[in-house]
Symmetry: C2
Subunit: 263 residues, 2 copies
Amino acid sequence: MGTITKALELLEFFSESRPEIGLGQFVKLSGRDKATVHRHLVELLENGWLEQDHETRSYRLGPAILRLSAVRETTYPTRALIRPVVRRLADDVGELVHASLMQGDQLSPIYFSDPRRYGVQVHFNMSELLPFHATSSGIAVLTFCPAAQQARILEGTLREYTGDTVTDPEALRALMEETRETGIASIARAFDPEVASQAVAIYGAGDVPMGALSVSVPSVRATPDHTENLRAPLIEAALDITRSLGGTYPPDHPLSRSMAGAK
Amino acid sequence: MGTITKALELLEFFSESRPEIGLGQFVKLSGRDKATVHRHLVELLENGWLEQDHETRSYRLGPAILRLSAVRETTYPTRALIRPVVRRLADDVGELVHASLMQGDQLSPIYFSDPRRYGVQVHFNMSELLPFHATSSGIAVLTFCPAAQQARILEGTLREYTGDTVTDPEALRALMEETRETGIASIARAFDPEVASQAVAIYGAGDVPMGALSVSVPSVRATPDHTENLRAPLIEAALDITRSLGGTYPPDHPLSRSMAGAK
DNA sequence: TTCCGTGGTTTATTATATGAACCGGCGGTA
DNA sequence: TACCGCCGGTTCATATAATAAACCACGGAA
Protein backbone atom coordinates (compact mmCIF):
# COMPACT_ATOMS: atom_id res chain seq x y z
CA MET A 1 0.00 0.00 0.00
CA GLY A 2 1.33 3.40 -0.94
CA THR A 3 1.99 6.23 1.43
CA ILE A 4 -0.69 8.36 -0.14
CA THR A 5 -3.35 5.76 0.50
CA LYS A 6 -2.25 5.39 4.08
CA ALA A 7 -2.60 9.11 4.63
CA LEU A 8 -5.96 9.32 2.90
CA GLU A 9 -7.25 6.45 4.97
CA LEU A 10 -6.64 8.54 8.04
CA LEU A 11 -9.20 11.01 6.73
CA GLU A 12 -11.76 8.26 6.33
CA PHE A 13 -11.87 7.79 10.08
CA PHE A 14 -13.72 11.04 10.46
CA SER A 15 -17.46 10.86 10.67
CA GLU A 16 -20.33 12.76 12.18
CA SER A 17 -19.95 10.77 15.36
CA ARG A 18 -16.18 11.16 15.39
CA PRO A 19 -15.37 14.66 14.14
CA GLU A 20 -12.16 15.09 16.15
CA ILE A 21 -9.42 12.52 16.47
CA GLY A 22 -6.20 12.64 18.48
CA LEU A 23 -2.85 11.13 17.56
CA GLY A 24 -3.26 8.17 19.88
CA GLN A 25 -6.69 7.40 18.58
CA PHE A 26 -5.45 7.52 15.00
CA VAL A 27 -2.77 5.03 15.95
CA LYS A 28 -5.37 2.67 17.41
CA LEU A 29 -7.76 3.07 14.49
CA SER A 30 -5.15 2.62 11.80
CA GLY A 31 -2.93 0.08 13.50
CA ARG A 32 0.14 1.88 12.22
CA ASP A 33 3.17 3.19 14.04
CA LYS A 34 2.79 6.39 15.95
CA ALA A 35 5.65 8.17 14.21
CA THR A 36 4.29 7.22 10.81
CA VAL A 37 0.82 8.40 11.64
CA HIS A 38 2.18 11.61 13.06
CA ARG A 39 4.13 12.40 9.93
CA HIS A 40 1.09 11.78 7.81
CA LEU A 41 -1.01 14.01 10.00
CA VAL A 42 1.51 16.81 9.81
CA GLU A 43 1.60 16.62 6.06
CA LEU A 44 -2.18 16.69 5.83
CA LEU A 45 -2.15 19.59 8.24
CA GLU A 46 0.32 21.57 6.15
CA ASN A 47 -1.91 21.21 3.13
CA GLY A 48 -5.08 22.33 4.86
CA TRP A 49 -6.78 18.94 4.80
CA LEU A 50 -6.74 18.87 8.57
CA GLU A 51 -6.60 21.47 11.23
CA GLN A 52 -5.54 21.03 14.79
CA ASP A 53 -7.30 22.20 17.89
CA HIS A 54 -4.84 24.42 19.66
CA GLU A 55 -5.53 23.13 23.12
CA THR A 56 -6.71 19.55 22.86
CA ARG A 57 -4.17 18.93 20.07
CA SER A 58 -6.65 16.73 18.29
CA TYR A 59 -7.31 16.93 14.58
CA ARG A 60 -10.38 17.72 12.54
CA LEU A 61 -11.08 18.08 8.82
CA GLY A 62 -9.70 21.28 7.32
CA PRO A 63 -10.85 23.94 4.89
CA ALA A 64 -9.17 22.49 1.79
CA ILE A 65 -12.01 20.03 1.57
CA LEU A 66 -14.62 22.76 1.39
CA ARG A 67 -12.99 24.48 -1.51
CA LEU A 68 -12.60 21.30 -3.55
CA SER A 69 -16.12 20.11 -2.92
CA ALA A 70 -17.33 23.49 -4.15
CA VAL A 71 -15.29 23.04 -7.32
CA ARG A 72 -16.62 19.57 -7.87
CA GLU A 73 -20.21 20.56 -7.34
CA THR A 74 -20.14 23.64 -9.54
CA THR A 75 -18.44 21.86 -12.40
CA TYR A 76 -19.96 18.43 -12.08
CA PRO A 77 -23.07 18.73 -9.99
CA THR A 78 -23.89 15.07 -9.37
CA ARG A 79 -25.21 15.79 -5.96
CA ALA A 80 -27.37 18.63 -7.14
CA LEU A 81 -28.84 16.47 -9.89
CA ILE A 82 -29.51 13.52 -7.64
CA ARG A 83 -30.93 15.47 -4.72
CA PRO A 84 -34.39 16.31 -6.16
CA VAL A 85 -34.96 12.78 -7.39
CA VAL A 86 -34.07 11.27 -4.03
CA ARG A 87 -36.32 13.72 -2.29
CA ARG A 88 -39.22 13.11 -4.60
CA LEU A 89 -38.92 9.34 -4.28
CA ALA A 90 -38.76 9.59 -0.51
CA ASP A 91 -41.86 11.74 -0.42
CA ASP A 92 -43.56 9.44 -2.87
CA VAL A 93 -42.98 6.16 -1.01
CA GLY A 94 -42.76 7.61 2.49
CA GLU A 95 -39.57 5.75 3.34
CA LEU A 96 -35.94 6.71 3.72
CA VAL A 97 -34.14 6.93 0.40
CA HIS A 98 -30.44 7.40 -0.18
CA ALA A 99 -28.07 7.58 -3.11
CA SER A 100 -24.41 6.63 -3.01
CA LEU A 101 -21.50 6.64 -5.42
CA MET A 102 -18.83 4.01 -5.96
CA GLN A 103 -15.60 4.83 -4.26
CA GLY A 104 -13.16 2.04 -4.89
CA ASP A 105 -14.61 -1.08 -3.34
CA GLN A 106 -17.10 0.75 -1.18
CA LEU A 107 -20.03 3.07 -1.62
CA SER A 108 -19.98 6.67 -0.49
CA PRO A 109 -23.39 8.10 0.39
CA ILE A 110 -23.95 11.51 -1.15
CA TYR A 111 -27.51 12.32 -0.25
CA PHE A 112 -30.44 10.98 1.68
CA SER A 113 -33.98 12.06 2.39
CA ASP A 114 -36.19 10.89 5.21
CA PRO A 115 -39.87 11.79 4.98
CA ARG A 116 -40.42 10.74 8.63
CA ARG A 117 -43.94 9.68 7.90
CA TYR A 118 -44.02 6.79 10.35
CA GLY A 119 -43.20 6.48 14.01
CA VAL A 120 -40.53 3.88 13.36
CA GLN A 121 -37.82 5.28 11.18
CA VAL A 122 -34.59 4.17 9.68
CA HIS A 123 -31.63 6.14 10.91
CA PHE A 124 -29.11 6.85 8.21
CA ASN A 125 -25.55 7.86 8.84
CA MET A 126 -24.30 9.70 5.80
CA SER A 127 -20.72 9.70 6.87
CA GLU A 128 -20.21 5.96 6.91
CA LEU A 129 -18.94 4.13 3.87
CA LEU A 130 -21.12 1.22 2.78
CA PRO A 131 -19.69 -2.24 2.06
CA PHE A 132 -20.67 -4.01 -1.14
CA HIS A 133 -21.52 -7.39 0.32
CA ALA A 134 -23.86 -6.33 3.13
CA THR A 135 -26.06 -3.69 1.55
CA SER A 136 -28.64 -3.75 -1.21
CA SER A 137 -26.88 -0.79 -2.84
CA GLY A 138 -23.68 -2.79 -2.83
CA ILE A 139 -25.21 -5.84 -4.46
CA ALA A 140 -27.06 -3.72 -6.99
CA VAL A 141 -23.75 -2.24 -8.06
CA LEU A 142 -21.51 -5.26 -7.67
CA THR A 143 -23.71 -7.37 -9.92
CA PHE A 144 -22.78 -5.19 -12.86
CA CYS A 145 -19.16 -4.57 -11.99
CA PRO A 146 -16.27 -6.13 -13.91
CA ALA A 147 -15.64 -9.78 -13.00
CA ALA A 148 -12.22 -8.91 -11.60
CA GLN A 149 -13.73 -6.54 -9.06
CA GLN A 150 -16.44 -9.02 -8.14
CA ALA A 151 -13.84 -11.69 -7.55
CA ARG A 152 -11.65 -9.38 -5.50
CA ILE A 153 -14.51 -8.50 -3.22
CA LEU A 154 -16.02 -11.95 -2.89
CA GLU A 155 -12.63 -13.53 -2.19
CA GLY A 156 -11.75 -10.80 0.29
CA THR A 157 -12.74 -10.74 3.93
CA LEU A 158 -16.49 -10.26 4.22
CA ARG A 159 -17.29 -8.74 7.55
CA GLU A 160 -20.32 -10.04 9.40
CA TYR A 161 -22.24 -6.97 10.56
CA THR A 162 -25.26 -8.80 11.93
CA GLY A 163 -26.28 -12.43 12.33
CA ASP A 164 -27.97 -12.16 8.93
CA THR A 165 -25.07 -10.75 6.94
CA VAL A 166 -24.37 -13.01 3.99
CA THR A 167 -20.68 -13.81 4.00
CA ASP A 168 -20.67 -16.91 1.81
CA PRO A 169 -19.42 -15.98 -1.68
CA GLU A 170 -21.70 -18.55 -3.26
CA ALA A 171 -24.78 -17.17 -1.50
CA LEU A 172 -23.78 -13.69 -2.58
CA ARG A 173 -23.45 -14.84 -6.16
CA ALA A 174 -26.96 -16.22 -5.92
CA LEU A 175 -28.22 -12.82 -4.74
CA MET A 176 -26.41 -11.21 -7.64
CA GLU A 177 -28.02 -13.66 -10.05
CA GLU A 178 -31.40 -12.47 -8.86
CA THR A 179 -30.35 -8.86 -9.29
CA ARG A 180 -29.13 -9.60 -12.79
CA GLU A 181 -32.67 -10.71 -13.64
CA THR A 182 -34.63 -7.87 -12.08
CA GLY A 183 -32.14 -5.04 -11.72
CA ILE A 184 -33.15 -4.79 -8.08
CA ALA A 185 -31.11 -5.97 -5.13
CA SER A 186 -33.00 -6.76 -1.97
CA ILE A 187 -31.38 -7.41 1.37
CA ALA A 188 -32.73 -7.53 4.90
CA ARG A 189 -30.97 -7.13 8.24
CA ALA A 190 -27.52 -7.66 6.73
CA PHE A 191 -25.94 -4.34 7.65
CA ASP A 192 -28.34 -3.02 10.28
CA PRO A 193 -30.41 -5.61 12.16
CA GLU A 194 -33.52 -3.44 11.96
CA VAL A 195 -33.45 -2.50 8.31
CA ALA A 196 -34.44 -4.06 5.02
CA SER A 197 -33.59 -2.33 1.79
CA GLN A 198 -33.82 -2.52 -1.95
CA ALA A 199 -31.55 -0.83 -4.44
CA VAL A 200 -30.97 -0.23 -8.11
CA ALA A 201 -27.73 0.72 -9.83
CA ILE A 202 -27.38 4.13 -11.46
CA TYR A 203 -25.08 4.91 -14.36
CA GLY A 204 -23.19 7.94 -15.52
CA ALA A 205 -20.95 7.99 -18.54
CA GLY A 206 -19.25 4.63 -18.94
CA ASP A 207 -20.49 1.08 -18.74
CA VAL A 208 -19.65 0.53 -15.10
CA PRO A 209 -22.20 1.55 -12.47
CA MET A 210 -21.63 4.94 -10.92
CA GLY A 211 -23.56 4.20 -7.74
CA ALA A 212 -26.91 3.09 -6.43
CA LEU A 213 -30.27 4.40 -5.34
CA SER A 214 -31.81 2.65 -2.39
CA VAL A 215 -34.94 2.68 -0.28
CA SER A 216 -34.71 1.39 3.29
CA VAL A 217 -37.57 0.32 5.50
CA PRO A 218 -37.59 -0.79 9.14
CA SER A 219 -37.77 -4.60 9.28
CA VAL A 220 -41.10 -4.42 11.07
CA ARG A 221 -42.66 -2.69 8.07
CA ALA A 222 -41.02 -4.84 5.42
CA THR A 223 -44.02 -6.92 4.40
CA PRO A 224 -43.98 -8.55 0.95
CA ASP A 225 -46.74 -6.18 -0.14
CA HIS A 226 -45.01 -3.01 0.99
CA THR A 227 -41.74 -4.21 -0.46
CA GLU A 228 -43.36 -4.95 -3.80
CA ASN A 229 -45.00 -1.53 -3.90
CA LEU A 230 -41.65 0.21 -3.59
CA ARG A 231 -40.14 -1.41 -6.64
CA ALA A 232 -41.77 0.49 -9.47
CA PRO A 233 -41.13 3.97 -8.05
CA LEU A 234 -37.54 2.98 -7.19
CA ILE A 235 -36.85 1.86 -10.73
CA GLU A 236 -38.46 4.96 -12.16
CA ALA A 237 -36.30 7.20 -9.99
CA ALA A 238 -33.13 5.30 -10.86
CA LEU A 239 -33.90 5.68 -14.56
CA ASP A 240 -34.46 9.38 -13.93
CA ILE A 241 -31.09 9.84 -12.31
CA THR A 242 -29.25 7.85 -14.93
CA ARG A 243 -30.90 9.89 -17.64
CA SER A 244 -30.08 13.20 -16.01
CA LEU A 245 -26.46 12.13 -15.53
CA GLY A 246 -26.30 11.44 -19.23
CA GLY A 247 -25.82 7.74 -18.60
CA THR A 248 -27.26 4.60 -20.10
CA TYR A 249 -27.72 1.10 -18.74
CA PRO A 250 -25.47 -1.39 -20.51
CA PRO A 251 -27.13 -4.15 -22.56
CA ASP A 252 -26.64 -6.75 -19.84
CA HIS A 253 -28.61 -4.71 -17.32
CA PRO A 254 -32.34 -5.44 -17.17
CA LEU A 255 -33.16 -1.73 -17.04
CA SER A 256 -31.56 -1.12 -20.42
CA ARG A 257 -34.90 -2.18 -21.89
CA SER A 258 -37.00 0.09 -19.63
CA MET A 259 -34.70 2.94 -20.47
CA ALA A 260 -35.03 2.47 -24.20
CA GLY A 261 -38.76 1.91 -23.83
CA ALA A 262 -39.36 4.95 -21.65
CA LYS A 263 -37.45 7.16 -23.98
CA MET B 1 8.60 17.48 0.23
CA GLY B 2 6.77 14.32 1.13
CA THR B 3 4.88 12.09 -1.23
CA ILE B 4 1.58 12.93 0.37
CA THR B 5 2.05 16.63 -0.24
CA LYS B 6 2.98 15.99 -3.85
CA ALA B 7 -0.20 14.03 -4.38
CA LEU B 8 -2.39 16.56 -2.63
CA GLU B 9 -0.89 19.34 -4.69
CA LEU B 10 -2.21 17.61 -7.77
CA LEU B 11 -5.71 18.16 -6.44
CA GLU B 12 -5.07 21.87 -6.05
CA PHE B 13 -4.79 22.24 -9.80
CA PHE B 14 -8.51 21.75 -10.16
CA SER B 15 -10.64 24.84 -10.37
CA GLU B 16 -13.87 25.98 -11.87
CA SER B 17 -12.07 26.90 -15.04
CA ARG B 18 -10.10 23.66 -15.11
CA PRO B 19 -12.39 20.90 -13.82
CA GLU B 20 -10.81 18.07 -15.83
CA ILE B 21 -7.11 17.43 -16.18
CA GLY B 22 -5.28 14.79 -18.20
CA LEU B 23 -2.05 13.03 -17.30
CA GLY B 24 0.05 15.14 -19.63
CA GLN B 25 -1.40 18.37 -18.33
CA PHE B 26 -0.74 17.30 -14.76
CA VAL B 27 2.87 16.65 -15.72
CA LYS B 28 3.16 20.15 -17.18
CA LEU B 29 1.43 21.81 -14.25
CA SER B 30 3.37 20.00 -11.56
CA GLY B 31 6.73 19.76 -13.31
CA ARG B 32 7.16 16.22 -12.01
CA ASP B 33 7.91 13.03 -13.84
CA LYS B 34 5.10 11.40 -15.74
CA ALA B 35 5.45 8.05 -14.00
CA THR B 36 5.39 9.68 -10.60
CA VAL B 37 2.37 11.76 -11.41
CA HIS B 38 0.61 8.76 -12.84
CA ARG B 39 1.19 6.66 -9.75
CA HIS B 40 -0.12 9.46 -7.57
CA LEU B 41 -3.19 9.83 -9.73
CA VAL B 42 -3.88 6.13 -9.56
CA GLU B 43 -3.65 6.15 -5.81
CA LEU B 44 -5.99 9.12 -5.54
CA LEU B 45 -8.30 7.35 -7.96
CA GLU B 46 -8.38 4.19 -5.88
CA ASN B 47 -9.41 6.17 -2.85
CA GLY B 48 -12.23 8.03 -4.55
CA TRP B 49 -10.56 11.43 -4.50
CA LEU B 50 -10.50 11.46 -8.26
CA GLU B 51 -12.49 9.77 -10.92
CA GLN B 52 -11.54 9.21 -14.49
CA ASP B 53 -13.54 9.91 -17.58
CA HIS B 54 -13.82 6.60 -19.35
CA GLU B 55 -13.22 7.93 -22.81
CA THR B 56 -11.10 11.04 -22.56
CA ARG B 57 -9.06 9.38 -19.77
CA SER B 58 -8.79 12.69 -17.99
CA TYR B 59 -9.33 13.09 -14.29
CA ARG B 60 -11.80 15.07 -12.21
CA LEU B 61 -12.50 15.39 -8.49
CA GLY B 62 -14.19 12.35 -6.99
CA PRO B 63 -16.98 11.64 -4.54
CA ALA B 64 -14.79 11.18 -1.46
CA ILE B 65 -14.55 14.94 -1.23
CA LEU B 66 -18.29 15.36 -1.05
CA ARG B 67 -18.63 13.01 1.86
CA LEU B 68 -15.88 14.62 3.89
CA SER B 69 -17.07 18.14 3.25
CA ALA B 70 -20.49 17.04 4.51
CA VAL B 71 -18.87 15.69 7.67
CA ARG B 72 -16.92 18.86 8.21
CA GLU B 73 -19.89 21.11 7.68
CA THR B 74 -22.28 19.18 9.89
CA THR B 75 -19.82 18.90 12.74
CA TYR B 76 -18.01 22.19 12.40
CA PRO B 77 -20.16 24.49 10.31
CA THR B 78 -17.76 27.37 9.69
CA ARG B 79 -19.12 28.00 6.28
CA ALA B 80 -22.71 27.99 7.45
CA LEU B 81 -21.88 30.45 10.21
CA ILE B 82 -19.95 32.77 7.96
CA ARG B 83 -22.38 32.74 5.06
CA PRO B 84 -25.13 34.97 6.49
CA VAL B 85 -22.67 37.57 7.73
CA VAL B 86 -20.95 37.78 4.37
CA ARG B 87 -24.25 38.10 2.65
CA ARG B 88 -25.53 40.78 4.96
CA LEU B 89 -22.36 42.83 4.67
CA ALA B 90 -22.44 42.55 0.88
CA ASP B 91 -26.03 43.72 0.78
CA ASP B 92 -25.23 46.45 3.23
CA VAL B 93 -22.28 48.00 1.40
CA GLY B 94 -23.30 46.96 -2.11
CA GLU B 95 -19.89 45.55 -2.97
CA LEU B 96 -18.44 42.07 -3.36
CA VAL B 97 -17.53 40.50 -0.04
CA HIS B 98 -15.66 37.26 0.51
CA ALA B 99 -14.36 35.26 3.44
CA SER B 100 -11.38 32.92 3.32
CA LEU B 101 -9.61 30.58 5.72
CA MET B 102 -5.93 30.05 6.26
CA GLN B 103 -4.61 26.99 4.56
CA GLY B 104 -0.90 26.72 5.17
CA ASP B 105 0.69 29.78 3.64
CA GLN B 106 -2.28 30.67 1.51
CA LEU B 107 -5.90 31.61 1.95
CA SER B 108 -8.72 29.38 0.80
CA PRO B 109 -11.92 31.24 -0.09
CA ILE B 110 -14.97 29.61 1.43
CA TYR B 111 -17.79 31.95 0.55
CA PHE B 112 -18.50 35.11 -1.35
CA SER B 113 -21.50 37.27 -2.05
CA ASP B 114 -21.92 39.75 -4.86
CA PRO B 115 -24.87 42.14 -4.63
CA ARG B 116 -24.38 43.22 -8.28
CA ARG B 117 -25.66 46.65 -7.52
CA TYR B 118 -23.42 48.51 -9.97
CA GLY B 119 -22.69 48.08 -13.63
CA VAL B 120 -19.01 47.50 -13.00
CA GLN B 121 -18.46 44.48 -10.83
CA VAL B 122 -15.62 42.56 -9.34
CA HIS B 123 -15.39 39.03 -10.58
CA PHE B 124 -14.42 36.58 -7.90
CA ASN B 125 -13.05 33.13 -8.55
CA MET B 126 -13.74 31.02 -5.50
CA SER B 127 -11.58 28.16 -6.58
CA GLU B 128 -8.31 30.01 -6.62
CA LEU B 129 -6.08 30.11 -3.56
CA LEU B 130 -5.09 33.61 -2.46
CA PRO B 131 -1.48 34.56 -1.73
CA PHE B 132 -0.66 36.40 1.47
CA HIS B 133 1.50 39.13 0.03
CA ALA B 134 -0.76 40.34 -2.78
CA THR B 135 -4.19 40.50 -1.19
CA SER B 136 -5.71 42.57 1.56
CA SER B 137 -6.98 39.38 3.20
CA GLY B 138 -3.46 38.04 3.17
CA ILE B 139 -1.96 41.10 4.80
CA ALA B 140 -4.78 41.27 7.34
CA VAL B 141 -3.94 37.74 8.41
CA LEU B 142 -0.18 37.79 8.01
CA THR B 143 0.17 40.81 10.27
CA PHE B 144 -1.00 38.74 13.21
CA CYS B 145 0.70 35.48 12.33
CA PRO B 146 3.70 34.13 14.26
CA ALA B 147 6.97 35.85 13.34
CA ALA B 148 8.35 32.61 11.93
CA GLN B 149 5.58 32.39 9.39
CA GLN B 150 5.89 36.05 8.48
CA ALA B 151 9.60 35.60 7.89
CA ARG B 152 9.08 32.45 5.82
CA ILE B 153 6.63 34.22 3.55
CA LEU B 154 8.47 37.52 3.25
CA GLU B 155 11.78 35.78 2.53
CA GLY B 156 10.14 33.43 0.03
CA THR B 157 9.49 34.20 -3.61
CA LEU B 158 6.83 36.88 -3.88
CA ARG B 159 5.12 36.61 -7.21
CA GLU B 160 4.30 39.81 -9.04
CA TYR B 161 0.72 39.49 -10.21
CA THR B 162 0.35 43.00 -11.56
CA GLY B 163 2.60 46.01 -11.95
CA ASP B 164 1.37 47.18 -8.56
CA THR B 165 2.03 44.01 -6.59
CA VAL B 166 4.23 44.81 -3.62
CA THR B 167 7.11 42.36 -3.63
CA ASP B 168 9.57 44.21 -1.45
CA PRO B 169 9.61 42.65 2.05
CA GLU B 170 10.24 46.02 3.64
CA ALA B 171 7.30 47.65 1.90
CA LEU B 172 5.14 44.73 2.95
CA ARG B 173 6.25 45.14 6.55
CA ALA B 174 5.21 48.79 6.31
CA LEU B 175 1.76 47.73 5.13
CA MET B 176 1.57 45.30 8.02
CA GLU B 177 2.54 48.05 10.43
CA GLU B 178 -0.46 50.03 9.26
CA THR B 179 -2.70 47.01 9.68
CA ARG B 180 -1.36 46.48 13.17
CA GLU B 181 -2.64 49.97 14.04
CA THR B 182 -6.07 49.82 12.48
CA GLY B 183 -6.81 46.11 12.08
CA ILE B 184 -7.61 46.79 8.46
CA ALA B 185 -5.43 45.89 5.49
CA SER B 186 -5.97 47.89 2.35
CA ILE B 187 -4.47 47.01 -1.00
CA ALA B 188 -5.19 48.15 -4.53
CA ARG B 189 -4.46 46.51 -7.88
CA ALA B 190 -1.92 44.11 -6.37
CA PHE B 191 -3.61 40.84 -7.32
CA ASP B 192 -6.11 41.94 -9.93
CA PRO B 193 -5.30 45.19 -11.79
CA GLU B 194 -8.92 46.33 -11.61
CA VAL B 195 -9.63 45.70 -7.95
CA ALA B 196 -8.97 47.41 -4.64
CA SER B 197 -9.84 45.66 -1.42
CA GLN B 198 -9.83 45.97 2.33
CA ALA B 199 -9.80 43.12 4.79
CA VAL B 200 -9.91 42.27 8.49
CA ALA B 201 -8.70 39.10 10.18
CA ILE B 202 -11.20 36.75 11.79
CA TYR B 203 -10.42 34.44 14.69
CA GLY B 204 -11.68 31.09 15.83
CA ALA B 205 -10.36 29.26 18.85
CA GLY B 206 -6.66 29.95 19.23
CA ASP B 207 -4.60 33.09 19.06
CA VAL B 208 -3.65 32.78 15.42
CA PRO B 209 -6.01 34.20 12.81
CA MET B 210 -8.36 31.71 11.23
CA GLY B 211 -8.95 33.69 8.06
CA ALA B 212 -10.09 37.04 6.77
CA LEU B 213 -13.16 38.92 5.69
CA SER B 214 -12.72 41.23 2.75
CA VAL B 215 -14.64 43.70 0.64
CA SER B 216 -13.48 44.32 -2.93
CA VAL B 217 -14.37 47.24 -5.14
CA PRO B 218 -13.50 47.98 -8.76
CA SER B 219 -10.59 50.42 -8.90
CA VAL B 220 -12.73 52.98 -10.69
CA ARG B 221 -15.06 53.16 -7.71
CA ALA B 222 -12.35 53.14 -5.01
CA THR B 223 -12.50 56.77 -4.00
CA PRO B 224 -11.19 57.72 -0.55
CA ASP B 225 -14.74 58.47 0.53
CA HIS B 226 -16.22 55.19 -0.59
CA THR B 227 -13.29 53.28 0.86
CA GLU B 228 -13.68 55.01 4.19
CA ASN B 229 -17.40 54.25 4.30
CA LEU B 230 -16.74 50.54 3.97
CA ARG B 231 -14.53 50.31 7.03
CA ALA B 232 -17.03 50.42 9.86
CA PRO B 233 -19.41 47.81 8.43
CA LEU B 234 -16.45 45.57 7.56
CA ILE B 235 -15.14 45.68 11.10
CA GLU B 236 -18.60 45.08 12.53
CA ALA B 237 -19.05 42.00 10.35
CA ALA B 238 -15.62 40.62 11.23
CA LEU B 239 -16.39 40.99 14.92
CA ASP B 240 -19.67 39.20 14.28
CA ILE B 241 -17.98 36.25 12.64
CA THR B 242 -15.28 35.96 15.26
CA ARG B 243 -17.90 36.03 17.98
CA SER B 244 -20.04 33.37 16.35
CA LEU B 245 -17.00 31.15 15.85
CA GLY B 246 -16.34 31.40 19.56
CA GLY B 247 -13.12 33.27 18.93
CA THR B 248 -11.52 36.34 20.43
CA TYR B 249 -9.04 38.83 19.09
CA PRO B 250 -5.67 38.54 20.85
CA PRO B 251 -4.48 41.53 22.93
CA ASP B 252 -2.11 42.73 20.18
CA HIS B 253 -4.94 43.07 17.68
CA PRO B 254 -6.62 46.49 17.54
CA LEU B 255 -10.06 44.89 17.40
CA SER B 256 -9.58 43.23 20.78
CA ARG B 257 -10.78 46.49 22.28
CA SER B 258 -13.86 46.80 20.02
CA MET B 259 -14.70 43.24 20.86
CA ALA B 260 -14.52 43.74 24.59
CA GLY B 261 -16.40 47.02 24.26
CA ALA B 262 -19.16 45.64 22.08
CA LYS B 263 -19.71 42.69 24.33
C1' DT C 1 8.13 10.51 44.60
C1' DT C 2 6.65 7.12 40.93
C1' DC C 3 3.64 5.70 37.41
C1' DC C 4 0.78 6.17 33.61
C1' DG C 5 -0.98 8.29 29.49
C1' DT C 6 -0.81 12.01 26.44
C1' DG C 7 1.55 14.23 21.99
C1' DG C 8 5.66 14.55 19.69
C1' DT C 9 10.76 13.56 17.98
C1' DT C 10 15.07 11.10 16.63
C1' DT C 11 17.78 7.87 13.65
C1' DA C 12 19.45 3.57 11.65
C1' DT C 13 17.22 0.47 8.65
C1' DT C 14 14.58 -0.72 4.82
C1' DA C 15 10.88 -0.44 2.11
C1' DT C 16 9.08 2.65 -1.15
C1' DA C 17 9.05 6.38 -4.52
C1' DT C 18 11.33 7.84 -8.49
C1' DG C 19 12.31 8.75 -13.57
C1' DA C 20 14.68 7.50 -17.97
C1' DA C 21 13.42 4.68 -21.23
C1' DC C 22 9.97 2.07 -23.09
C1' DC C 23 5.26 0.35 -25.10
C1' DG C 24 1.12 0.72 -27.93
C1' DG C 25 -2.62 3.30 -29.83
C1' DC C 26 -4.36 7.32 -32.36
C1' DG C 27 -4.59 11.18 -35.85
C1' DG C 28 -2.50 13.66 -39.12
C1' DT C 29 0.36 13.77 -43.37
C1' DA C 30 3.41 12.99 -46.84
C1' DT D 1 1.84 2.62 -47.12
C1' DA D 2 5.20 4.60 -43.82
C1' DC D 3 6.44 8.12 -40.84
C1' DC D 4 5.85 11.41 -37.22
C1' DG D 5 4.37 13.42 -32.87
C1' DC D 6 1.53 13.03 -29.07
C1' DC D 7 -1.29 10.76 -25.96
C1' DG D 8 -1.86 7.64 -21.65
C1' DG D 9 0.32 4.23 -19.42
C1' DT D 10 4.23 0.77 -17.77
C1' DT D 11 8.90 -1.15 -16.45
C1' DC D 12 12.84 -1.70 -13.39
C1' DA D 13 17.42 -0.35 -11.52
C1' DT D 14 18.44 3.24 -8.45
C1' DA D 15 18.21 6.37 -4.77
C1' DT D 16 15.39 8.66 -1.87
C1' DA D 17 11.96 8.97 1.38
C1' DA D 18 9.07 6.23 4.72
C1' DT D 19 9.33 3.48 8.68
C1' DA D 20 9.36 1.97 13.69
C1' DA D 21 11.80 1.27 18.07
C1' DA D 22 13.31 3.94 21.39
C1' DC D 23 13.26 8.24 23.28
C1' DC D 24 11.72 12.99 25.26
C1' DA D 25 8.65 16.19 27.71
C1' DC D 26 4.59 17.24 29.80
C1' DG D 27 0.48 16.63 32.85
C1' DG D 28 -2.31 14.44 35.91
C1' DA D 29 -3.20 10.50 39.66
C1' DA D 30 -1.87 7.73 43.38
